[in-house]
Symmetry: C3
Subunit: 341 residues, 3 copies
């Protein structure tokens, strides 16, 4: 009888189960500094207390993806340890900003299971919720993964949850007090407001960043994501470690500053696919497509729905004639961000 | 006459000398964030202010090894610069937790000297003490190193200190207020309490982490340890830098979470050997052997004495038939940690 | 019409223009911890709140070069994007220390332009000023760069600013309250005071540090310097990324602790040249030459003018017989620092 965690297998998930993920985490300014060292993040609202205050917030919140990575990292020992693939995201919403000093805990409810026809694995859907020390919801999202079966027992009753194809603009939660009527476009870095963007517009974010093993491991550890594929070179003959998909999300999002400097806060994750694995040595570029534009109830605050694509090749490429992702595409992410009207 | 520090030679140590090590260091939350980026540290008491508070502490202290590394780093210019080998540790005790904002200073008393029979080097024993800005002792430990002689003068009177083979359970100092009676095992990550462990039990911590040059240099610099062997690739034909032994200690201790998640705080260092050098590219794994179990005077708080072995090969291996460490073994550490009864 | 920043060309600079650089940045203790991880920085005044207090300051300010890098980083999208070369610095002065929690903004005034005879590029001089959230000047410096022309329009009227060859000792600004009369040389690490140095004296700082790609990219991102040459391996056939010159400045300055431990704060940048490009794998060493010594109006506080040379070869080398920098020389920096009398 071992004391170490062997992880859950497909049989260990039953619809309705709620899993309390271990190791709460207090996040402060050190994590913010590290976020800036790890990613070329320049969005002003996450860079300057004064800029955040000019937008009605008490001070600069942590980057929204810090919340996501930390909440996600806690689920790894319970959800991903025997996972074969991370299949998708849906219905992600940021509800409360993460302030320095907050402590994050994370729980997941199993909302769907479906055994694969091969009898050796199955798909598990979980709705994961991150909370702060006041038990306020920081964010929640649905993720589904393919998980190995332990044995050859019977398949459970399949239950496939109905998931929205995108979070409705009406359901976006705007941080309390947020006000873009006095927004300083010069300090923010670009003059473009919501009205300057049109659905269908494609933006090449130009810059490329080559990833080193040390960088993605520092980042992934920072979120206490301990999945061994990210750290153990003996897992592959070439000694490379599979880069945590969230590292590519943060990298691409930071690169998108160049052309989307005013898409200040992420408020919803509509969907996403880690189209191909990313490895050290890859040079990541990003491009975005504007999917939708909306107003919000907050003064001066609009919302922009974006497809964010990370690629290790040329910008603009997405799928081949066969409908499959081009081998260069690393990430295809669909999200809502807030932008001055 | 040079202004740079050439380091002390064997002749420069006399029993009774007290060395004030330079460069006090204020440690705050940035160092804590970096510790999480550098090591896969997940022990809840060092991760969450709320968890620490539920254990009777005012908030989450810095990892105990941050204290050790910082105190140790300060000794390097005075003790290790002309050292040939780091031979051992003994009688290490953590007395006061390190709180964010504390400033660490470090002194060492020479407690033993013995010239080697070759007349070219000798062994020096020092008892190093780290203090905070209130002059409270944070920790102290004995270390002995082999140091080159400058010249060929006469050998000093040999003085070999008597050192305890282990810190007695009765001498462990429990942080003020620590109370594990309301301990949350679910949030901590594992259900095992002290009574679930037995002396002689061996735990394979399963996970492996491959080290990059950038990572160990970032870590070693963070502790202001400037020993050139860790940073200068021109010291060896293969361009590799010898990894600071403390980096392996922190890595192995973090990996030991998987099976020892409730061994929350290190309170004593009974002994330790850096069995073989560690280099970038090595994949470090860890295993532990339970050596002893004890109660303490604090409510709900037990103590577990552990051997922690880091290896770049398979877990479980320690010594060959010749009694020497197996070439894969990097570290053999003997410590006490606190665990809920 | 693209929304991304294509950068300014030579034609886009007119003498008298003031450019507001984007993305204000709040700096706290996380950046300080990272500075210690990235560079072997040991100067006590930047390491310990208590040491800084013993020198009359409220607590330990951020390293002076954190101010420089952050102010500089903000200028990159407006000044360096189409720059061919970074030609020089002059008249740099630190006016107000950077305290944790301060927010930095940056502006540049164009003070000179001169088209090159080839008609394809020109030199632009800017005076860059960094301010904190109270609109106090943190520092200012002049930099000149060679910038590509967009088209083949006529040359502007040349305007070459007159720049001081060095900041006069009388113009050095001493941080308010600074007092070295109670200076603790033992804690600072070396016994040498201003009177122990003589103009012409050369100090070999002995230690060498080999740079990894991950390290310089982490550092350069931390200052929100997004110049693509530092991050994109596809820019060169050998996949190496050109290391930000400021990374070499910080590295050499940190190495200079060994022999100049009491040159505590940088207060002026008289000039500087990035003599040769630096790449990952280079082992950086440093040597200093004492250029001048001066008293200041503050109690116990002297000033030392230093040439700081970073080299990837042996210390001491600077120029060849042809007057050109030796190929091993990376940096030749001329600065004033404060030192106890």
């Amino acid at each position: 009888m071992t004391k170490t965690n062997a992880g859950r297998f497909f049989e260990d998930y039953a619809v309705g189960d709620v899993i309390t993920h271990a190791v709460p985490r207090t996040i402060k300014m050190g994590e913010r500094a590290l976020y800036h060292a790890l990613y070329p993040a320049r969005h002003a609202l996450h860079s300057s207390d004064q800029f955040a205050q000019s937008c009605g917030l008490p001070f600069s919140p942590l980057n929204d993806l810090v919340t996501f990575h930390t909440v996600f990292g806690k689920t790894v020992p319970d959800v991903s340890l025997n996972a074969v693939a991370n299949l998708g995201y849906a219905e992600g919403r940021w509800i409360t900003p993460l302030w320095p000093g907050d402590t994050i805990t994370s729980t997941s409810e199993v909302i769907g299971v479906k055994q694969n026809s091969n009898g050796k694995s199955g798909v598990v859907w979980v709705r994961t919720t991150g909370r702060n020390q006041h038990d306020e919801v920081l964010m929640s999202y649905v993720r589904w993964v393919m998980v190995r079966k332990r044995g050859d027992g019977e398949a459970p009753e399949p239950m496939i949850p109905e998931l929205a194809s995108a979070v409705s603009a009406n359901d976006l939660v705007i941080p309390q007090g947020l006000n873009f009527t006095g927004y300083d476009f010069a300090l923010a870095g670009e003059p473009h407001r919501l009205a300057d963007y049109a659905a269908g517009e494609v933006i090449d974010h130009v810059d490329g960043v080559t990833i080193e093993e040390a960088e993605h491991m520092l980042a992934t550890r920072l979120w206490q994501n301990t999945a061994k594929v990210h750290f153990d070179a003996t897992n592959r003959p070439d000694g490379k470690r599979l880069i945590y998909g969230g590292h590519v999300i943060s990298l691409a999002r930071a690169l998108s500053f160049n052309g989307l400097a005013n898409a200040q806060m992420i408020v919803a994750l509509n969907g996403g696919a880690h189209a191909n694995p990313c490895f050290a040595g890859d040079t990541v570029r990003a491009w975005s497509e504007v999917l939708d534009l909306a107003e919000t109830s907050a003064p001066g605050v609009g919302a922009i729905r974006l497809r964010l694509v990370a690629t290790k090749g040329a910008a603009g490429v997405l799928r081949g004639d066969d409908g499959k992702y081009h081998p260069d595409v690393l990430l295809d992410l669909d999200y809502w961000a807030l932008m001055p009207l």
